[in-house]
């Protein structure tokens, strides 16, 4: 084989540049822990081009080796793709994307779950990379009575096998030694295949594909792997040459009696069974598994659901209530800075820009950090312990009824507090379609920013009376708004599933990892990563939006006797007046119009904005002065009251559905990697809000 010669000559010039090591492994194999142990805090998180799949790269601190760059690939079960994360990892390792391929692949293998983990390892060995198999969770395997004879396993696989025990950091030196000795590609590859022609056919398919696409393939990568992916349909070729080659090859394989869809998987697993039979023995197989014991309770039909409800309540309570203390702290400090600027400097456009544009904008970015940090701390804990998969397992049946899936539950629940962290947490949903639908409907959950709007309007217009002697009417209206959001989300999800995301795979094939103690290092890292990504990606967009909104509200400067007149003269006021004919059928005047525009910064801004246009300086949703001001507000033309109960209901319904939140749109843009989705979201939610508010106002006016 000429390839092996190529590989050896290729390995020589490596010394002149840094060694690029890729960490590969199935999800939950312990890859992140190893990455953390190898790189310390010296790493960067970025996205792969065009997709929101994270790429972590760091310099390894390995004594004796300089310049080792480690890249932590997303977890993947095979080189055949699947979820977006897996596809990127597989494309990168197959050389299908234009990125420098690794010089060496460390395949992290969970010692407690060798059979399934070795599938990826054997594919990697076949790809022709120098591979080191790193055994993780060996301590746990020992406890379970699994005895692994590393020398035999290494001989069978044809590559070095090292014990990393990354949790204790002890085994990292062993890995470093293996790195120093420069692992070579395995000499015997494809030993699982009893049909040499299969490999040769696959290689030809791979070659055809690479030639017709001019894909820059690294000389290390064996094209047979790409060919196998094409034959089973894991990769799609859109050129005729490859398509013809694939169908010819499939026909040839079928003639030889080879089931081309399942051949590779069947034979590989058969081979792995043989390898394990020779290298692993299980002592005391009757030992009770702790995971099964916990699961008896955690997924029990009564206790399991009660426990689930308790965990979810705790999670929601943390994000909803406990985050409010640090949020108030941030809010007060930014107000203090703003006030200080206004008191210290003379009035000028610059002062206004700094105080009301930049400082206020920075405040509206940082205000999200407590919720994001708390939510991701908890999600990461649940993920590390293994409970996240059980939560999805419990909820799947319910969530599927409304077009979502089990993994959508936590993002949806937390969107009741705030859609921003909620949408960020959809990254745990592996299916593209399910994740997208969850993102699109999450902002319909009534978030905490809608509370002040509901509170003000209910206090001002809904009579404080009892219904049937027990229920307060105000409470019923309040609850109805939440319910309306949930129903709207279910309908929207079903429609999205049937239209934009129709026919896309949305499976619930999910590994149930064993319960484990959480690694706090991994948890804290994940929190810091999420916060930094938010600041860097969405934060900059939110900042830019708030400066635009500041500009619209502050210019042009007009001579005005009252606050309200000044607002009316601004671009925002002009826009509010301009849209008045459009929002008239909903029962709104220009004052509400301008407040709708202003509250795009954040929904609760509606309250301060409506106060401003009614010539009240400082007011919140409980201020008696504001409540009576909007109750008594008169239309200057007719002299009649501007708003009544029906207007208030129509406005609340509008707020239930409308995407009046630049931060949500910014996060959707960054999380989906495309401007298309925030546009779709804004348009559909605004239409939904308009339609629902229109119906509310028109019917309400006839009934009441």
């Amino acid at each position: 084989m000429t390839e092996s010669e190529q590989l050896n000559t290729d390995a020589a010039p490596l010394r002149s540049r840094s060694l690029l090591v890729a960490l590969a492994g199935v999800p939950n194999a312990g890859k992140t822990t190893l990455f953390n142990a190898l790189t310390g805090l010296n790493y960067k998180v970025a996205n792969y081009p065009g997709v929101t799949v994270e790429r972590k790269t760091g310099k390894a601190k390995i004594p004796g080796i300089k310049d080792v760059l480690i890249t932590d690939l997303p977890g993947t079960y095979s080189l055949n793709g699947g979820a977006p994360e897996e596809t990127i990892a597989a494309q990168y390792l197959s050389g299908l994307i234009n990125e420098t391929p690794p010089d060496l692949v460390v395949c992290v293998v969970d010692a407690c779950n060798l059979e399934r983990n070795l599938f990826l390892a054997s594919q990697l060995i076949d790809s022709g990379y120098p591979v080191i198999v790193a055994l993780s969770m060996l301590d746990e395997a020992v406890k379970r009575g699994i005895v692994i004879r590393k020398e035999i396993l290494s001989r069978e696989l044809g590559v070095p096998v090292v014990d990393i025990a990354a949790r204790q950091k002890a085994g990292v030196d062993g890995l470093a030694k293996a790195l120093l000795n420069k692992a070579r590609p395995a000499e015997k590859r494809f030993t699982w295949s009893d049909q040499p022609s299969y490999i040769e056919f696959a290689r030809q398919v791979g070659q055809t594909h690479v030639q017709s696409h001019k894909v820059p393939i690294h000389p290390n990568v064996d094209l047979a792997l790409i060919g196998m992916g094409l034959i089973v349909g894991a990769w799609k070729a859109n050129d005729e040459a490859t398509q013809t080659k694939i169908s010819e090859t499939r026909a040839k394989l079928s003639d030889q009696g080879i089931d081309f869809n399942n051949f590779e998987a069947e034979k590989r697993y058969l081979w792995i069974e043989g390898v394990l039979a020779r290298s692993v023995s299980i002592e005391d197989p009757k030992r009770k598994n702790i995971t099964e014991t916990i699961d008896k309770l955690a997924t029990h039909r009564i206790f399991g659901l009660v426990f689930f409800a308790a965990i979810m309540f705790f999670m929601f309570e943390s994000v909803f209530s406990w985050a409010s203390a640090p949020m108030d702290f941030i809010d007060q400090n930014f107000s203090a800075v703003r006030n200080w600027i206004i008191e210290t400097f003379d009035e000028s456009a610059l002062r206004s820009l700094v105080a009301d544009g930049i400082v206020a904008g920075a405040g509206s970015v940082l205000i999200f950090i407590p919720q994001i940090a708390i939510l991701f701390f908890l999600i990461s804990m649940l993920e590390e312990t293994g409970y996240l998969a059980r939560a999805a397992f419990l909820m799947d049946r319910v969530m599927r009824k409304v077009g979502l899936q089990g993994r959508s539950f936590i993002p949806m629940l937390n969107s009741f507090a705030c859609a921003v962290p909620g949408i960020m947490s959809t990254r745990t949903i592996p299916s593209f379609a399910d994740r997208m639908v969850t993102i699109m409907v999450a902002p319909l959950m009534s978030c905490s920013a809608r509370l002040p709007v509901y509170a003000l309007l209910i206090a001002a217009f809904v009579p404080a009376i009892k219904v049937w002697g027990v229920f307060s009417l105000q409470g019923i209206v309040f609850f109805s708004m939440y319910l309306l959001g949930v129903i709207g989300a279910a309908i929207a999800a079903l429609i999205f599933k049937a239209t934009l995301f129709k026919g896309l795979p949305s499976h619930f094939v999910m590994e149930m990892p064993p319960y484990r103690m959480p690694q706090f290092k991994n948890v804290f890292r994940s929190v810091i990563e999420r916060v930094l990504i938010f600041l860097k990606d969405a934060g900059t967009v939110i900042m830019a939006c708030s400066i635009v909104l500041w500009f619209l509200a502050s210019f042009p400067k007009v001579e005005a006797k009252t606050q309200a007149e000044a607002v009316r003269g601004s671009y925002a006021g002009q826009l509010g007046t301009f849209i008045e004919p459009v929002i008239r059928p909903l029962g709104y005047d220009w004052k509400i119009g301008v407040s709708l525009i202003a509250s795009f910064a954040a929904r609760e801004v509606f309250v301060s904005s409506i106060a401003l246009v009614n010539n009240l300086e400082e007011a919140d949703e409980t201020s008696e002065s504001l409540i009576s001001a909007i109750r008594e507000a008169k239309d200057s033309r007719t002299g009649e009251r501007s708003y009544n109960l029906v207007t208030a209901l129509s406005l609340m319904v509008f707020y239930v559905f409308a995407c009046q939140c630049m931060s949500t749109l910014a996060v959707v843009w960054k999380e989906t990697g495309s401007i298309r989705w925030p546009v779709v979201m804004f348009v559909y939610m605004t239409l939904m809000a308009y339609g629902a508010a229109f119906i509310t106002y028109q019917i309400g006016n006839r009934l009441l």
């Binding site: 399942n262 997924t299 397992f393 094939v509 999910m510």
Partner: protein, 112 residues
């Protein structure tokens, strides 16, 4: 196998509702995968990649409180599948006492 049970099998095939699909997945039930049959090639590829190939033994270890999804143990690890997804697995029950009712697929439909 008596003629009577064969008639029952035919009936089950034609009225194969979700309930009957779920019904065979009782906790502790053991199966062997005989083949994978279905039109969703993404799903089939996913399952064989995860090790659910012909000849693989499965045990139902858990059923979600609402009856679905189902947790299986195979190749030393646990995997949850919805009943509709598990349906692409042509399974043979290893629990001989209830074999005729549980596995309605006639032998000649087994591909391998």
């Amino acid at each position: 196998m008596t003629i009577k049970t064969e008639i029952k099998e035919d009936k089950m095939d034609s009225t194969d509702t979700l309930n009957s699909k779920v019904a065979k997945f009782r906790r502790g039930a053991k199966f062997v995968v005989q083949s994978l049959v279905g039109s969703d090639s993404d799903l089939l590829r996913r399952l064989v990649t995860l090790g659910l190939v012909s000849g693989t033994c499965l045990e139902v270890t858990n059923v979600a409180p609402l009856g679905d999804p189902i947790e299986f143990k195979a190749r030393g690890y646990s995997l949850s599948l919805r009943a509709t997804e598990a349906d692409v697995l042509n399974l043979k029950s290893l629990d001989s006492a209830i074999t005729p009712l549980i596995n309605p697929a006639p032998v000649n439909s087994v591909i391998k």
